[in-house]
């Protein structure tokens, strides 16, 4: 049994059967009418998101498409819980990760290993295995004992990546950064996300339409605060190129 099958067995033993029979509702991440206003300097508000709704379940990958400034990062922050919407809510039926390569929460004074231990404690993950996994994945070796303020940005991103993958999140949030590091590390990331995590839900804010065509089943296109979910990726691509 591959790791991916094992994963799906743990999380959804008979979900497909049950859902088909209408017995157990599938667990989803639902965004319901998300509205986000920002206060602008000099008074007034700017409505960045105006009634966004969508639903993602296990195994589905949703792409967030839009021009720069369309609100993709804001939506990701609201989904992860860092910001709260002005109106509407997010129903999290799945365990959601933080944006994958996000290293902002990792305190500079702490060493890499301190941060690993913190995450493991917080999420009740087995300490030693988490540590070994992250050490193995990042290949940072003894640099894990260095304070994070001395890390290069590449090292920081690799550690952030490894930490977000070390915990079994059911839904991965990705904010424009899919792969980091050198070619070999990129391959590792790719394998980890798209093979070992095949059955996870994914919400990806990305600009590359080729990526969307290859990996995603749904696309949410954001423009001027409004958004619509497309199940037909070809149609989504056509519209995106005209944005």
């Amino acid at each position: 049994m591959s790791a991916a099958d094992a994963l799906s067995a743990v999380h959804e033993p008979n979900a497909q059967v049950d859902a088909a029979a209408g017995l157990v509702p599938r667990r989803t991440i639902d965004a319901v009418d998300i509205v986000k206003d920002y206060h602008v300097e000099g008074g007034g508000v700017r409505r960045v998101l105006d009634g966004i709704s969508f639903s993602v379940t296990m195994g589905e990958r949703l792409a967030l498409l839009g021009r720069n400034g369309a609100g993709k990062s804001t939506l990701i922050k609201i989904l992860s819980g860092m910001q709260r919407p002005t109106a509407g809510h997010v129903r999290r039926g799945l365990q959601m990760s933080w944006p994958l390569a996000f290293s902002g929460g990792f305190e500079g004074e702490l060493t890499g290993s301190d941060n690993i231990r913190f995450i493991a404690r917080l999420y009740n993950a087995p300490m030693r295995e988490t540590f070994e996994y992250v050490a193995d994945f990042t290949e940072l070796g003894s640099q894990l004992n260095l304070q994070m303020k001395y890390y290069s940005s590449g090292m920081r991103m690799r550690l952030a990546f490894a930490l977000s993958l070390a915990i079994q999140f059911e839904c991965l949030l990705i904010d424009e950064v899919i792969v980091v590091g050198d070619r070999r590390f990129q391959q590792k990331c790719h394998d980890e996300i798209f093979q070992n995590r095949k059955n996870c839900a994914m919400i990806v804010a990305i600009h590359s339409i080729d990526f969307v065509k290859e990996y995603c089943q749904k696309a949410l296109i954001l423009k001027d605060g409004r958004g619509r979910v497309f199940d037909d990726i070809g149609l989504a691509e056509a519209i995106y190129t005209t944005l």
Binding site: G105, E107, R121
Partner: protein, 271 residues
Amino acid sequence: MSSFGAIAPTKTGSFWTGLKVQGRVLYALMVRELMMRYGRNNIGFLWLVLEPMILCAGVIGLRWLIQTHQEHGVPLVALILSGYMPLTLWRHLTNKCVFLLRRNVGMLFHRQVTILDTFVMSMCLEFIGCTLAFIVNYAALIFMGAIDPVKDYGMVVCGWCTMATLATGVGAAIAVLTELYEVSERFIQPLQYLILPLSGFLFMVDWLPDVGQRLVWYMPIIHCFEMIRAGFFGDAVQTHYTPAYPLIFGLVLLAIYLPMLEKVRDHVHYN
């Protein structure tokens, strides 16, 4: 290569499961905060204990030079200890709360961490640290023979906990107000300095004239000092205090400002 890691269950568990999760979250946050504040390079956390020690050592040295034993009927070193340690508690608890939310909002993208957790965690950490410092300094001074043992431990504990409640209440108010009105942060330090002479950390209420005694009753912090001193010196001194006043003051402040923490959260921006 497979990854793993158990996550706290999404379905609502029993009360005890929730409590265990809460405990674990607080512990993780506290260890992180500890590492962050004090680092690994120098003696780190021990500075919290050593700092009052240096003051007391200075005072003992001074007293030995001047050769006076009593100050208004109260031993000098004991007066200093019973004044400075609660003041340290007050200072640490209240100053920690300035801009507390914006410093900790980065933790909120973890689903288990709420804004109340960050507040509780900071307060707990400071309380434990200052209590430890108090105990260590007290034990060291007893060992050196510089002070007499405390007459009434219960009273000291009551006074200490009342001080902690009051300081936490004021801290909650500070945490909320500094996020709502940035300019209020400028007032905190001057106010702390103003409170210093009025707080009673260097004098006892009995030394003041009647008029002074009546006026100073209205400062809740005075009562905490009086309670601790009553514990230290017992019947040797006359103390005036009303325990209910600072307790209720602190609890009312907590009741008002803790719920506001959640509302103020939206004012904090994080990039």
